[in-house]
């Protein structure tokens, strides 16, 4: 499904600020895998997301998606196969356009955009149907501008827009971190539901260890640009936060210093 081979990425190379963001990352995901990624700030989690989605190109290494080498493909071409939800609830939708227009844009993701009408009666029916799965009543507000929605509603819509065309891989970049606990739980539950419904191959970055343990079938821990721990399906079921922290201490010889990672 997704395969990363020896990915290296260095920022500010040759200057005093040189920083190795990713250091020989190898990762293979099978169809239907749901991997949660944890690690402290600066571990390279976001860079990993950006490399997969094509916002950045790796210095060395190859990326394969569906057995196709996509290492040099530009971001918008990869986006046909990759769904993404950002941390910022404002980032995934277009505020001055209506809910149905936003969904229409997401619907065109894996097709060629033409001069046909974006919102047709037939599509409207389909949009209404997928919106019902959010249980937020948005299906009755198809003509409302997205800018009028709350942060939680917008993030739910972003999640739907990223997923309902069933991309080959779904990238979630701390997509509940900017929401209050109740909204975050709502989005977490929706994520579970949607990923299960479409059987999506998912990579989720999170700072919330409990969430990392609750969701997904595999877990990886990153630090200083490397994957320092991989937990497979069987181990993950028994894993606790305590064990994770101890494991980190054992590997790195230091306590995990990031408070946010400990907030569970």
């Amino acid at each position: 499904m997704l395969q990363l081979n020896q990915i290296h990425k260095v920022f500010n190379e040759g200057t005093p600020d040189e920083k190795t963001a990713l250091d020989s990352i190898d990762l293979t995901m099978k169809k239907g895998d749901f991997i949660t990624v944890i690690g402290s700030n600066g571990a390279g989690k976001s860079t990993l997301m950006n490399i997969i989605s094509g916002v950045m190109l790796p210095d060395i290494g190859a990326i394969y998606l569906d057995n196709k080498n996509i290492s040099l493909l530009s971001e918008y071409r990869r986006a046909k196969m990759i769904g993404r939800v950002f941390q910022d609830p404002m980032a995934g939708t277009s505020p001055s356009m209506t809910i149905e227009e936003n969904l229409a844009m997401a619907y065109s993701r894996n097709k060629n955009r033409t001069l046909r009408k974006g919102v047709t009666r037939q599509r409207k029916e389909m949009f209404r149907e997928v919106l019902e799965s959010l249980h937020l009543g948005l299906e009755n507000r198809l003509n409302a501008k997205v800018g009028l929605l709350s942060g939680g509603e917008r993030q739910a819509l972003s999640l739907l827009m990223a997923t309902f065309t069933e991309p080959s891989i779904l990238l979630l970049d701390e997509h509940t971190a900017a929401l209050d606990p109740a909204r975050a739980e709502l989005i977490t539950n929706l994520t579970k539901e949607i990923v299960k419904k479409y059987n999506l191959t998912t990579l989720m970055v999170t700072h919330n260890m409990q969430q990392a343990l609750d969701l997904g079938n595999r877990l990886i821990m990153m630090d200083k640009g490397q994957i320092i721990l991989t937990v497979d399906e069987e181990q993950k079921k028994k894993l606790t936060i305590e064990q994770l922290l101890n494991e980190f201490q054992r590997i790195r010889g230091a306590k995990m210093t990031n408070d946010r990672a400990l907030l569970t």
């Binding site: 071409r77 995934g92 065109s108």
Partner: protein, 339 residues
């Protein structure tokens, strides 16, 4: 007086096409595109030169549109592939076009009087129908017989053309490509993550915007009877004035409503300028100053109105709170005095 307003209305509806172009780049794409000052003249120059050299004026006008499209695309390429700041790429293109326009015309002014233009064709065709007499007798009947326009044909033709462009724009902005174009102006990161090529969309949007601007320039040259290398100076501000005035007066609820507002804004702007120039101490040279003043007022006035409304609401709330406290205070006092 009425004749002047009639003339203002007629040119207003032609300038409205330019304003729609500015709306597309400035509002939809969120791109402050100064190419407009140059591409307006490019349209006029291409049309004028072709008409003078004997080409069909309708084809000349359409080719002016193509020239504007190319100019806009070049600005877009400077911005996207050259990674030049939006304002600067527009200014660079505008300056470059000044020389190009001079080259096209070969001199700084090309007169079109006594030549057959698209608009004179329309006027001739209209005159044959004899509909002018009906309109004029109607006006005479309501007591405006002393200020009859030269012809109704151009006005009606231009209303049809401008509205056709408005409807096409509305329609285009609802298509799959149009939606992606709007999102490019609204949230680039998001629409890229939905597999849209934002570079292409910026170039396309600026191309279309400047195509409209050049088309308008070509028609203005034919209406005014000349193309001049300086006729585009300040055009972007005139376009912006139309957009802002229109939006403030007619609202922006939907796309169709907004494009209608822009057309209305362009006409109102022309009428305001015409009226302003009738004031004794103002000269035609003051026009740019008047334009700048109108834009400044249109930008500031809505904010002042909004603020004063808010203050009124606040004052009301404070008054009502005080009133309820006063009542409460009275009842407190009565409780105290009772025992």
């Amino acid at each position: 007086m009425t004749t002047a307003i009639f003339g203002a209305f007629e040119s207003g509806i032609i300038y409205a096409i330019m304003a729609l172009g500015v709306y597309l780049s400035f509002r939809v794409l969120d791109f402050p595109d100064l190419t407009v000052d140059g591409s307006f003249v490019t349209g006029a120059a291409v049309a004028a030169m072709m008409i003078v050299s004997g080409a069909n004026p309708f084809i000349a006008t359409l080719l002016a549109l193509v020239a504007g499209f190319i100019a806009g695309c070049l600005t877009g390429i400077l911005h996207t592939f050259g990674k030049i700041n939006a304002l600067l790429s527009g200014i660079l293109m505008m300056i470059a076009l000044y020389s190009i326009n001079l080259r096209i015309m070969g001199k700084s002014n090309v007169p079109l009087l006594n030549t057959e233009t698209a608009l004179s064709h329309v006027r001739d065709a209209w005159d044959k129908t004899g509909l002018d007499n009906i309109f004029n007798s109607l006006l005479t009947a309501v007591g405006l017989g002393d200020s009859l326009p030269r012809t109704w044909g151009i006005l009606i033709f231009m209303i049809i053309v401008t509205f056709a462009i408005k409807l096409l724009t509305d329609r285009f902005l609802q298509t799959e490509i149009g939606l992606a174009l709007r999102a490019t102006g609204d949230n680039k990161r998001m629409i890229r993550s939905l597999s849209a090529n934002t570079n292409f969309l910026v170039i396309l949007g600026l191309g279309l915007a400047n195509a409209m601007v050049a088309f308008s320039g070509a028609l203005i040259a034919q209406q005014g009877g000349f193309a001049d290398v300086g006729m585009g100076i300040g055009m972007i501000i005139i376009g912006l004035a139309s957009v802002i005035i229109g939006e403030a007066i007619f609202g922006t609820k939907t796309i169709a409503r907004t494009t209608l507002a822009v057309i209305g804004g362009a006409i109102i702007y022309r009428i305001v300028v015409t009226l302003a120039l009738r004031v004794e101490f103002l000269e035609p040279g003051d026009m740019k100053l008047i334009t700048a003043t109108i834009v400044i007022i249109a930008l500031i006035l809505p904010k002042i109105i909004h603020k004063s409304r808010e203050n009124k609401r606040k004052a009301k709330r404070i008054a009502s709170v005080k009133a309820s406290e006063y009542i409460k205070g009275e009842s407190d006092a009565s409780i105290k005095s009772n025992p």
